[in-house]
C-alpha cells in the first residue's frame, strides 16, 4: 500500500512502474525500475502491458464497450490472443469477480461498484503479475469499498497476484496489506507493516489517517493498559478490554 499527501509523488511512482515513465513521458530519468526481474526502461510497452495491470480511480475512464464481456476482452483482443483462449480467460475473470451474470449488460447501466469490478476483470483477464490500483475506493460508498478490499485480499490469496494500492483510507486496508510505504515530497519516508507505520509517531505528520480505533489502541498501549500487539478492529479491541478484568 502506498500512502502520502496529495502531490507527494504517488501517481508518478505508479507511472514509473507501469512504464508510462519513461516510455510516454519525457523528462530526466535516473536509476532503474525492475518488474518481475526485467528493467522497465528496457522493456517494451507491450511486454509491460502483459505483466502490469492498472485500475484507474474512475472506472468510467477504462470501460467503454457495449457489453461487459466485450469490455473485459478488450485488452486480450489488442494483444491478439486466440479466440478460444480469450473466451476462457474472460469467463474466468468474470467468475472471479462475480460478474458472470452481467456479461451481456451494457457497462453504463451498472452501479459504481459493478463498474469497478468490470474494469478489474479486464485487468485480471490479462493475467498480470502485478496489479496497480489508484485510489480504487474514493468513489465508492463504504460498504462497496469494503467489498472491493475483501475481493483484492481473495485474489491475492487465490492467484498470488501482487497488488500495489494507492489509498488514503488506511482503515480499509490495514487488515489486508502486507506493507505500507509512505511518500512525501517525492521521497519514501516511512516503510513497514501497517502496525509499524500506524503505531509509529510519524504517520500523522505525513497526512496518513490513523483510524480512530487504532488511536484508542495506541493510547492504551502508551498508558500500559494493554500491550501494543496487533492492529485490532473495534470489536476485537472491545473483546480485549473484557479480558483485562
Amino acid at each position: 500500500m502506498l500512502a502520502g499527501p496529495s502531490g507527494c509523488g504517488k501517481s508518478t511512482l505508479l507511472r514509473a512502474v507501469n512504464g508510462l515513465i519513461p516510455h510516454m513521458y519525457s523528462g530526466e530519468y535516473e536509476g532503474d525500475v525492475k518488474v518481475d526481474g526485467a528493467s522497465v526502461k528496457e522493456s517494451t510497452m507491450r511486454e509491460l502491458a502483459q505483466k502490469v495491470g492498472f485500475l484507474f480511480q474512475n472506472p468510467e475512464n477504462q470501460i467503454f464497450m457495449f457489453t461487459v464481456e466485450r469490455d473485459v476482452a478488450f485488452g486480450l483482443e489488442n494483444l491478439g490472443v486466440a479466440r478460444g483462449e480469450m473466451r476462457q480467460r474472460v469467463d474466468e475473470a468474470m467468475d472471479l469477480l462475480g460478474i458472470g451474470e452481467l456479461a451481456l449488460r451494457a457497462p453504463h447501466e451498472l452501479s459504481d461498484g459493478q463498474k469497478q469490478r468490470v474494469a478489474l476483470a479486464g485487468v485480471l483477464a490479462m493475467r498480470p503479475k502485478l496489479v496497480i490500483l489508484d485510489e480504487p475506493t474514493s468513489l465508492l460508498d463504504p460498504r462497496t469499498a469494503a467489498e472491493l478490499v475483501a475481493l483484492v485480499a481473495k485474489l491475492r490469496r487465490e492467484l498470488g497476484t501482487t497488488f500495489l494500492v494507492v489509498e488514503h483510507r488506511l482503515d480499509l486496508l490495514v487488515k489486508v496489506a502486507d506493507r505500507v510505504v509512505v511518500m512525501s515530497d517525492g521521497a519514501k519516508v516511512l516503510e513497514g507493516t501497517p502496525a509499524e507505520v500506524l503505531f509509529g509517531d510519524e504517520a500523522e505528520a505525513y497526512g496518513v489517517a490513523v483510524p480512530a480505533i487504532t488511536e484508542v489502541q495506541k493510547m492504551l498501549a502508551r498508558d500500559g493498559v494493554l500491550p501494543q500487539g496487533e492492529l485490532m478492529t473495534p470489536v476485537e479491541l472491545a473483546q480485549k478490554m473484557r479480558g483485562t478484568a
Partner: protein, 271 residues
C-alpha cells in the same frame, strides 16, 4: 431556513431520483446527508441550490420558493462546493477565480482583495495565487472551490463529498472549518461517505436510500441503529462499533479517541 415539502423529482429518462422527500433544516444547523451511491444525495443538494426544480412538491429557501427565484439570487444565500471541482473552476488564475463571484455580488475592490487573501491563507493556497486553477491537484481544487464560497459569506454552505482526495491533515482543517461555520451560526450541509470524518463533528444525520429519507436524527443515536445503517449501506463509525461491543458503557458513544481512553482507563469498561 430550508424546507422541502413532499418533493419528487423524476429525471427525463423516468428515473425517480427523489421520492416524496420532506425535510426541514433550521438556520444554524449542521446536517450530514449519507447513503449509498445513487441514493439521491446530490439531487437533493441541487434542489436546494435551485439548479433543479421539483417535478412535484415545493422547495423553500429562506421563505422563497425556488421555482420563483433565480439561481443567481439563490447563490448569494446558498454556496455549494460540488463533488467535482472541475465543474465550477474556469478562471485564468486562482485569485481571479476567487474574485469573480465577489465582484459579481458587488463587493468593493478593497473587500474583494481582503477576502481573496483571507481565503487563500485559510486553505493554504497562497503559493498558487497567480497560477491557473488547472495546475492544482484534485484536493487543492476542492479547497479552492470552498474558499471561493466562504469568501462571499453565504448563509448556507453545502459541501458535496469534501474529503475525497484530502489527506488527514487537510481533513482535520476541513473539520475545523465546519466547526467555525457552525459557531458563526451558518447552516452547513455535508454530503459524504466518509463516516469517520463526520462522526466527531456530531451533526444531525439524514439517511437517504433510493430517493427517500429513511432516517433522520442526531448522529449519537442514529449511528447506533445497525438495521437502518445496513439497509442504507452506511458504515458504522469505528468508535460506535467499539462502544456497542463493550460489556459496560457510558450513556452515549465516544465522540473521539480521547473520550474512549478516559472511560476505559477509569476502569469502567470492565464489569
Amino acid at each position: 431556513m430550508i424546507e422541502l415539502k413532499e418533493v419528487t423529482f423524476v429525471h427525463q429518462n423516468g428515473v425517480r431520483a427523489l421520492d416524496d422527500v420532506s425535510l426541514r433544516i433550521e438556520s444554524g444547523e449542521t446536517v450530514a446527508v449519507v447513503g449509498e451511491n445513487g441514493a439521491g444525495k446530490t439531487t437533493l443538494v441541487k434542489h436546494v441550490t435551485g439548479l433543479l426544480k421539483p417535478t412535484s412538491g415545493t422547495v423553500m429557501v429562506d421563505g422563497q420558493d425556488t421555482r420563483n427565484t433565480s439561481t443567481a439570487k439563490l447563490s448569494r444565500k446558498v454556496g455549494v462546493a460540488f463533488q467535482n471541482p472541475d465543474h465550477q473552476l474556469f478562471s485564468e488564475s486562482v485569485e481571479e477565480e476567487m474574485a469573480f463571484a465577489l465582484r459579481n455580488f458587488g463587493f468593493s475592490p478593497e473587500v474583494v482583495e481582503n477576502r481573496v487573501s483571507w481565503g487563500l491563507e485559510l486553505f493554504g493556497l497562497e503559493e498558487y495565487r497567480k497560477s491557473s486553477p488547472l495546475v492544482l491537484s484534485g484536493g487543492e481544487k476542492k479547497r479552492l472551490t470552498l474558499a471561493c464560497i466562504l469568501a462571499w459569506d453565504p448563509e448556507v454552505v453545502i459541501l458535496d463529498e469534501p474529503t475525497v482526495g484530502q489527506d488527514s491533515i487537510q481533513k482535520e482543517k476541513l473539520a475545523g472549518t465546519i466547526r467555525m461555520l457552525r459557531s458563526a451560526g451558518k447552516t452547513v450541509v455535508v454530503v459524504s461517505h466518509d463516516i469517520e470524518f463526520l462522526w466527531p463533528v456530531q451533526p444531525r444525520v439524514v439517511v437517504m436510500k433510493a430517493g427517500r429519507v429513511v432516517g433522520d436524527g442526531p448522529a449519537s443515536t442514529l449511528m447506533l441503529d445497525e438495521g437502518l445503517l445496513a439497509s442504507a449501506r452506511v458504515a458504522q463509525p469505528q468508535l460506535v462499533a467499539f462502544y456497542r461491543s463493550l460489556p459496560r458503557r457510558p450513556e452515549r458513544p465516544f465522540v473521539d479517541p480521547l473520550e474512549a481512553r478516559r472511560w476505559l482507563e477509569a476502569g469502567r469498561a470492565v464489569p
